[in-house]
């Protein structure tokens, strides 16, 4: 199975390298109606008029921007700097995910180019270290290339301007963080270029990028073909019952089922803040939201607790909903400590909201093997914001249905407030759906 998939990928790469040696053919193969020279120019002049400065990549190779990197390729470009702490890591996550998404379908026909806006500081050596940190080199020849590039400051600025990353106000233009949250995606052969916003849902970014990177219409519109073929057989659609002025509700638009991601098969052996031993099995029949909190973490746990509070307020009255905040016990974090802590978080005694403590090993076992959260990551000493803050935890909320099945994990704490708000809204919407449909469907894990 694996071997076959790999063979297929390898095959694609070979196909692309053949095509790429004759860029003219690519356009003919992928597009319709572009035999006209003027039309070709209309689409390609944007890339053809880009500057061609010599840059140095993190491997120390000197490359020309247009001639060696863009010509005949699809590219995903971003401007970054190695010290960037806010937007760049998020953009890097998007790039890493896109690289994974496109390995099988596009292989090395797509290139990821990260160009520093701080070339004086980001020397090839700094970039080499940065690339190593991000583990960009891969032994798999189908993983798209990801290069970090530096060069002459003025030439990079001119290139950035030509790529549309320019602000009228020089103060904003010179602020490198202003350019960090944009991907420029282009395909030299088809002439399609766009700026993409990595701050939206990842699947949106992927679909948008695929429309540009795709060499054939089938690749570009794979998502639409999938949706259309799922919706019907291509025959005339059945007559829906549709209200136009007064009448019944539309019958179509069945909402997609929430996936089943796992089962809470095991107990958490812990103590609630009331001092009572509790077990997860007593929550069967209820929609339950689990989350890990960490009393030292100032912002992350705040977001988790705020989301838990909103959910409790929204659904406590149903009597069919429960929230469980899990935390490792310590000499400080006793049940009594959690009584005060819960009061501060806005949890009332009668709320269906537990604060459960257990040994650290037990909490790790439960969150990793039962809830499917990521194991804690040890924070390097120099990155710690607090001397006691040793580990970084997966703070996603986990939604469990009446049957004890895991139906979603939600990143309610995310550096981008838009994404954390979206996640907080989504967990509520999904919980409401589960509560509205008490008789579970027959999907089995």
């Amino acid at each position: 199975m694996m071997a076959a998939a790999n063979w297929h990928r390898r095959c694609l790469s070979v196909l692309f390298s053949c095509l790429l040696s004759q860029p003219g053919n690519l356009t003919a193969a992928g597009d319709t109606g572009l035999q006209n020279k003027g039309l070709l120019l209309m689409r390609q002049e944007f890339a053809d008029s880009l500057p061609d400065p010599v840059l140095t990549n993190h491997r120390g190779e000197r490359v020309r921007f247009f001639t060696d990197l863009v010509k005949g390729h699809a590219v995903v470009i971003n401007f970054f700097y190695a010290d960037c702490e806010r937007s760049c890591p998020l953009t890097n996550v998007t790039i890493r995910n896109l690289r994974g998404d496109f390995t099988a379908s596009f292989g090395r026909s797509v290139r990821f180019l990260s160009i520093t806006v701080n070339p004086d500081q980001d020397t090839p050596e700094v970039l080499a270290r940065y690339a190593k940190q991000h583990a960009v080199e891969s032994a798999d020849p189908d993983v798209p290339d990801w290069q970090f590039l530096t060069g002459n400051r003025d030439e990079i600025r001119e290139l950035r301007w030509h790529l549309g990353m320019r602000e009228k106000d020089p103060a904003i233009d010179n602020d490198p963080s202003q350019h960090a949250a944009t991907l420029i995606v282009g395909n030299h052969a088809t002439g399609r270029w766009a700026k993409l916003n990595p701050l939206v849902r990842h699947s949106l970014v992927r679909e948008k990028a695929q429309r540009i990177i795709g060499w054939t219409a089938a690749q570009r519109y794979a998502d639409i073909h999938a949706e259309v073929s799922a919706a019907g057989t291509g025959q005339a659609p059945p007559r829906p019952v549709l209200r136009i002025q007064e009448g019944p509700l539309p019958s179509g638009g069945e909402e997609p089922q929430l996936p089943v991601l796992g089962v809470v098969s095991d107990q958490l052996a812990g103590v609630e803040r009331s001092g009572v031993r509790v077990s997860a099995s007593s929550l069967r029949g209820k929609v339950t939201v689990y989350g890990r909190i960490y009393t030292l973490c100032p912002h992350g746990s705040q977001a988790v607790l705020a989301a838990m509070k909103r959910l409790t307020d929204a659904f406590a009255e149903t009597g069919e909903f429960h929230v469980v905040a899990v935390s490792p016990s310590s000499p400080r974090e006793t049940p009594e400590f959690f009584q005060t802590f819960a009061n501060l978080a806005g949890a009332k005694k009668e709320d269906p909201w537990w604060f459960v403590t257990a040994s650290k090993d037990e909490v790790n076992r439960f969150t990793e093997t039962v809830l499917g959260l990521e194991p804690p990551r040890l924070i390097p000493a120099e990155e710690r914001l607090h001397p006691l803050e040793e580990e970084e935890h997966d703070l996603r909320l986990v939604l469990v249905d009446q049957e004890g099945r895991i139906r979603g994990r939600y990143e309610v704490f995310h550096p981008d407030p838009f994404l954390s708000n979206e996640a907080a809204w989504q967990v509520g919407a999904d919980a409401a759906r589960l509560l509205a449909a008490p008789s579970p469907d027959s999907v089995s894990p």
Binding site: T32, L41, S49, W193, A217, P240, I244
Partner: protein, 595 residues
């Protein structure tokens, strides 16, 4: 920058060559000044060489039965299907009268620049399918569809371009599937059957609301992420719509036309009534259009076009003409007047006629807007040349110079600092036989039905802003799966549209129905006359906040609202509202049933 303009001013005085020349030719042949990084562009363009192209009205392939050109495929038997409303239309939609058309989006080539330059320009446009199934030449602006309220229309649109499209019929009242939703696409090689029922929304008592009958519709591409480059390449067209009230105004020679001809037949032939689609472009020296794909602030051209021709002339009889001005640029705002500063009669805003016209000397027009104007050339002696002028300077994408109130001021005092002539009218004697149209500022046109505060069910607020180099609404970006507002079918909502930016201009377009401006929260002012009835684009100048009310009738499903600076719209100052059986105060997943 000022230096170059002054230089141009000082080179004024080119001979006009006309006996009764009115207005300054100071800027003849000189390009508009823009902040562009592209320096290989054409600068000098001869004036008044093209004759004004009239958009070509087209006849339906058939009425009441599916035409042979559909190749035996039923309505809906194409990849992107047809609106569900096509199957459930009530009896009074008159489906037996349905007119069928077939259209293809494809590439073409034409003289956009004056023919003496010898440079043909490739563009993207629309072509009609003939009754034998052959496809005509692409034109831009596209073929003109002429609608009548009470006559449903199906247009089978096929995409022969290499990129996805979505055709938005801007100004009408359509099913969600056929409205040109940014994510309800026509992918290359595929077709969508657009269903335009041409019905009016109903009042609470079930009668049709004739105040909502549109006159000035236009269509343009609306595909998410690439609308701006598609519109700039030419994917736009015009579609006037007529109802009994407006046809009667033409029949009685109130509005310009040939009575008995312009109010009859399937295409309402009318030599005294045309759209003027205002565009601006940058050309390579080869004549190829230049578009900066990665400038998401706005595309400004240095060459002006009307109906797809650079600086045309138009021979007019000494009588009244109706001009349906259309802001077809993606980012340029204009303030339009006649070179002698004489009066025009403004009879409508966006799609809709006013209750009564307004005498003006100038009007502002942003991307997406329509301004319905009657000009009476009977005041000029035959042989007179009078110019259509833009007197609003705009050199960068942020927006024009000046305040919105000044730009929209109906009177012009003094000599404008900036004048750019767009078209020359050559006045000839009126043909005998048809008296001049009678419309004046006193004539009753279309009644208006204001929305009362007591009807409002939900209030929402939308802030249009810049965020990390992209364009956001309430800090969020367009997501095809999220309905950012969910109004109840048949309800009224009040929305506050806010632009907190000090520099940027955002023309906000809301689909489905007209909306009514209530007040400007920033200045406290009531809307000016032209904004006090209906519009589908509300102009938000810098630091302004405007309250509007809107009804959500007839059709369920998602519809767009967004900035009509198409570059802003693409990244991604666009939201959608989904009309549903019950309202929701917060965002919800979109119902894909309507795609």
């Amino acid at each position: 920058m000022k230096t170059r303009r002054n230089l141009l001013k000082s080179s004024a005085g080119i001979a006009a060559g006309s006996v009764f020349h009115i207005g300054s030719t100071a800027h003849a042949d000189s390009p508009l000044e823009i902040d562009s990084q592209f320096d290989g562009s054409i600068q000098k363009v001869p004036r008044w060489e093209h004759t004004l192209p009239f958009p070509v009205p087209v006849k339906p392939l058939s009425t009441g039965q599916i035409p042979a050109a559909y190749g035996g495929k039923m309505v809906g038997d194409v990849l992107h299907k047809v609106a569900p409303e096509f199957y459930t239309a009530p009896a009074d939609w008159n489906m037996q009268n349905t007119q069928y058309y077939a259209m293809v989006a494809k590439a073409g080539e034409a003289f956009i620049l004056p023919p003496s330059m010898g440079l043909r320009t490739p563009f993207w446009g629309y072509a009609m399918v003939n009754s034998d199934g052959t496809v005509g030449q692409a034109v831009s602006p596209g073929p003109q569809l002429r609608y009548q309220i009470g006559r449903p229309v199906v247009v089978r649109t096929t995409n022969q371009l290499p990129e996805e499209i979505s055709t938005h019929m801007h100004g009408g009242h359509w099913p969600s599937h056929s409205d040109g939703h940014a994510s309800f696409l026509v992918i290359p090689g595929a077709s969508r059957d657009y269903f335009y029922p041409n019905v009016l929304p109903r009042r609470k008592d079930g009668t049709f609301d004739i105040s909502e009958s549109p006159s000035n519709i236009w269509y343009h591409d609306h595909a998410a992420d690439i609308t701006a480059s598609h519109v700039a390449r030419g994917l736009a067209g015009t579609a006037p719509c007529f109802d009994a009230l407006e046809l009667d105004l033409i029949k009685r020679n109130v509005l310009p036309g040939i009575p008995g001809q312009s109010d009859e037949d399937t295409i309402y032939n009318n030599p005294y009534d045309t759209y003027l689609a205002l565009g601006d472009k940058v050309f390579h020296r080869s004549g190829v259009l230049w578009y900066d794909n990665n400038n998401n602030n706005g595309y400004l051209g240095n060459v002006e076009t009307i109906n797809g021709a650079a600086y045309p002339r138009f021979t007019v009889e000494a009588r009244k003409y109706r001009f349906r001005f259309l802001g077809a640029s993606t980012a340029r705002h204009r303030r339009i007047r006649l070179s002698d500063n004489s009066r025009m009669l403004r009879i409508g805003n966006d799609a809709w006629l006013f209750p009564k016209g307004q005498e003006i000397q100038a009007f502002g027009i942003s991307p997406g807007k329509r301004v319905d104007i009657v000009i009476d050339f009977s005041r000029y002696k035959p042989g007179t040349q009078v110019f259509l002028e833009n007197i609003l300077e705009q050199t960068n994408e942020r927006g024009p110079e000046g305040k919105l109130e000044e730009i929209e001021n109906p009177t012009v005092s003094g000599t404008p600092e900036f004048i750019h002539q767009l078209m020359r009218f050559d006045v000839v004697a009126a043909k005998p036989g048809i008296p001049n149209a009678s419309v004046t500022a006193k004539t009753e046109l279309r009644p208006h039905e204001p929305i009362a505060a007591s009807e409002v069910e939900i209030r929402r607020s939308f802030r249009f802003e810049r965020k990390k180099g992209h364009w956001a609404i309430n800090g969020q970006f367009y997501d095809e799966r999220i309905a950012n507002a969910v109004p109840r079918l048949g309800s009224v909502e009040e929305w506050t549209l806010e632009n907190s930016s000090g520099g940027w201009w955002h023309p906000i377009h809301i689909h489905l129905e007209s909306h009514q401006q209530v007040r400007n929260l920033t200045t406290g002012a009531r809307p000016a006359y032209h904004n006090s009835f209906k519009q589908d684009v509300t102009m938000l100048g810098p630091n302004s906040s405007i309250v509007i009310r809107m009804r959500f009738r007839t059709f369920l499903g998602p519809f767009m609202f967004h900035c009509h600076n198409n570059e802003h719209e693409d990244v991604e100052m666009m939201f959608q509202f989904e009309v549903a059986e019950s309202a929701s105060a917060r965002a919800k997943p979109v119902n894909r049933f309507f795609a």
